[in-house]
Amino acid sequence: MTVTDSASTSSVPGGRLGLLPRRDAVLRMSEVRAAELADSPIEGENDQTMLVNMGPQHPSTHGVLRLMLEMDGETIRRSKPVIGYLHTGMEKTGESLTFLQGPTNVTRMDYASPLFTELAFSMATERLLGIEVPERAVWIRMLMTELNRVSSHLLFMATNGMDLGAVSMMIYGWREREEVLRFFEIVTGLRMNHNYIRPGGVAADLPDGWRGEVERLLTMIPPRLEEYDVLMTGQPIWRGRLQGVGVFSAEEALALSATGPVLRSTGIPWDLRRDEPYLAYDQVEFDVVVGSYGDAFDRYAIRLNEIRESLRIIEQILDKMPKGDYRVGDAKVTPPPRARIDESMEALIHHFKIFTEGFKVPAGEAYAAVESPRGELGCYLVSDGSPKPYRMHIRGPSFVNLQSLPHMMANGMLADGVAIISSVDPIMGEVDR
């Protein structure tokens, strides 16, 4: 029994639907139609498939992902991700916030890696402003985002373990992640939703003793990763649950615009940090981890090893962290230091203008992309010369990667479906925005 290859070939010359052998596994059905089907009578022996809802309230759907599944017994024939349960119109909200307030909004999208959204937004704003951030700010941004990648992947380790029944892994993953978040709290004041990376630099310099804290993380995490290897990587049950599950080919990944570990698991070494270096990634050494089978195990192993690569980058950042200012000296963009306000009228005016009206950004459009733990995170900004973005769009990697789910889950078991959702690691805040 197969659901593939029944659609006619593509009508557009050069069309690439032929690269997607499992495209019929995408269920295209409205709520109304699904409700009608529920009331229809069973038509004898051949009426074997059944529509089942999984989510939005399901422990392994990472929040509020809902899947409409067409089940044939325990086998998933077709599926449709139904999203939007967390949609709060953040792109619309972004149009009524100034460029300075913007990071408070976007940081709430991908709540597992908030600093990356702040970074993409700030980089797009800086492109429009035409300003270069100081060296130290660049390296602080790198340090913070790499630590964020570690904490985000640790969260993946925890939830992936939990989804597959390794419940103790959930506790271990959260435990290590909490250590990283504790460092974020020291630096930014908050565990999550930091609003730390802002247009023009970062909100505050690293506090005294930051180096010791980072070194503590660098010595603490690697042995714990070895423990994960013992607990999961080499374990036959773990391998049995993940290997060969949710296999995805490189052609499919490229055609479906997948990025991040989902793309790299298929063997394509594409990482914006290496291929379109931003910040100072051209000055540090690291490896791009790729898989070879494109299955859920590869996606797990890539993330585990990316933690190690991130720690390697952080070690180099510790050596190379320059001295200097942590935000740009432009008084039109950067609020003056508190002490200056008491002595300088101009500083007072600038402070007042920045926090009431906001700074004006030249008219134009810009796109900036960073490699978030889930793939390419882009920010497209259109400014009409006012202090608020005319249009603010975030290209969420989770949102785009989610379209590959029906392809990966086609003709697999329901229990494997859980492993596959987990291996794509969608963050619903960013999917729905």
Binding site: S10, V12, G84, A255, L256, S257, T259, G385
Partner: protein, 172 residues
């Protein structure tokens, strides 16, 4: 395909890429394809190694305060669909900006050439009401199926919910 040639003859040809006027936006290559030629341009992009449609979104220029910076021969319209493509071999990106008029907001879908545009086109349809012809399932994606209106249009109000404070007297 022949009608842009006359306008170019008058103004003088600007830089071209993939048969469309080409501009430069802060270092990014931006092309301005005609709505009717969109599928042909996308085919050319694909043939040139731009294998991935990395982003597709739209902008509603209804209340844009600044002058629109568009090359000669491109008629500004209310909606602009913005699509980014990536060539991983050459590590290049191209951004296409397509003008879509408000009274006839429809254009060809990229689904068959770039199947990854599926969700993104659905989002643009949901948020802006631009219809992509040839999309297999152009339905709302973030808003409920029964929703009316397109929230990211500039004439769609933000709305507000009155805040009730405890003990405060009511409006009447």
């Amino acid at each position: 395909m022949s009608e842009p040639a006359t306008s170019e003859a008058e103004i003088g040809p600007g830089p071209m890429a993939f048969g469309c006027p080409r501009t430069d936006s802060l270092g990014d290559v931006v092309i301005h394809p005609d709505r009717e030629r969109w599928q042909a341009v996308a085919t050319e992009l694909l043939a040139d190694g731009f294998t991935m449609c990395i982003d597709l979104t739209a902008v509603d220029y209804l209340t844009y305060a600044a002058p629109r910076a568009l090359p000669a021969g491109v008629q500004p319209e209310r909606f602009e669909v913005v699509a980014s493509f990536m060539n991983q071999e050459r590590r290049e990106r191209v951004r296409a900006r397509i003008q879509v008029p408000a009274d006839d907001p429809r254009m060809a879908s990229l689904y068959e050439l770039f199947p990854g545009s599926d969700f993104m086109e659905r989002e643009v349809f949901d948020m802006f009401g631009v219809v992509f012809e040839g999309h297999p399932d152009l339905s709302r994606i973030l808003m409920p199926e029964t929703w009316e209106g397109h929230p990211l249009r500039k004439d769609y109000g933000i709305g507000s919910i009155p805040v009730q404070f405890k003990g405060a007297p009511g409006p009447r």
